[in-house]
Assembly symmetry: D2
Homo-oligomer: 133 residues x 4
């Protein structure tokens, strides 16, 4: 990931723990892309009527993860209060999306795969949040 | 705003207060566009070095407001926990961005205008949040 | 719209026609929000299976309009080639989304309303593009 | 990348060449994150006044790559005209951003790294575009 390389040579240093920050950024952007893809796969299924809540939460999760990934990526003049609130929103959204995807994991591989990515992002947010205090 | 018309005829009804929801959506999307524009105007100023924190918070605020505007716009299978966490993040980000813009309001009209829009969005988020309980 | 006010007092002047630029920005952000809302209303309909292509194009149109609205809003160091390519992509996406929404306009008011907004954005993009040459 | 796994098991098949599609998606999302990070690193530099055009193009490139990455990720009811226009906009934006970053590559490692990622995304877009015809 080039973002890691850029942050390591960044002219300003945020006070956030470096490795937890990298893991959070990776997870946010990966989760955003995965949720876009899962929403689209759900939409293509014959049983889309059973997947309406899943599509909705996938779309929310993609939008929130993308925005939070951008906030956490930025290192210049970091505002800890903004970062904390953003990560909390991401954590909650990933958890709800994961729970819904898990309900469809037996029937749809994309929901099983997406749930796993959401859980990983939830954990990465939780760990970074714990380090902020 | 066409979104208002669509939500009024929407096949599903979220439990959120209708007028507060409209005001929050309007403010989120207006604030996102305004912060994009203020960041860009700051970047074009001769004293951009004094405005670095302002640009950074403008970019964060644009990304968060845009994502939260999308979440609040959606009415199908609304998850109140997700909405609450999203609005809280938006409220915090708008408040911090407004505070920074207010520091430059005397020198830069765009910061003065942007601060006003951020404060309005902060209030709209606060009001919708209070109605959720 | 505060963006208009900010651009009128902007420290840098792009070479784009001012009024056509404002109309394009307004339309892009309005169309992005409207498409988010139409996709969500479609998803909440009992006949969502008939609306799959509409949801897909709504999501594409929301993402493209949002990105292009951001590009056209920025006035500092505008690259005309980038602006032209962005507006062309927006024009094509709005046209295809409008055509699909028009197919469902008799049955769904949100598709009728969304088609109108997409056609307006298509026209605003076309007019700005013609002025660039 | 989980998106690859989801697309391989997707209920619908777009007509786009599979491997070129994966490469384009990977590159778009990687380039979006990298440009966010390069814009932020530029903003943190003491010579930010020399980097104004770079920041501006980084922001455009991030927004366009993110939107186009989402469009190309979706496989359900793909509209080739929309995909083609989106990829063309991405190609042009990546090329302009790469050219600007290359001007600062000697002085700033983040610009050197970002230019490389933009060139890779430009090529991935060009290859996918050529396969569409």
């Amino acid at each position: 990931m080039t973002v890691r390389e850029i942050i390591e040579g960044h002219p300003r240093q945020s006070s956030l723990a470096r490795d937890l920050t990298f893991r959070c950024i990776d997870n946010c952007f990966d989760c955003a892309a995965t949720c876009i893809s899962c929403a689209d796969a759900c939409l293509g299924e014959a049983d889309v009527l059973e997947l309406v809540r899943c599509v909705r939460l996938n779309l929310d999760c993609a939008d929130v993860c993308d925005a939070v990934g951008r906030v956490v990526t930025r290192q210049t003049e970091t505002d800890i209060g903004v970062v904390r609130a953003a990560i909390e929103a991401c954590l909650v959204t990933c958890r709800e999306c994961a729970e819904e995807c898990e309900r469809h994991a037996v029937h749809h591989d994309h929901c099983r795969a997406c749930a796993k990515v959401c859980r990983s992002c939830e954990q990465a947010c939780s760990d970074l949040l714990a380090s902020i205090g």
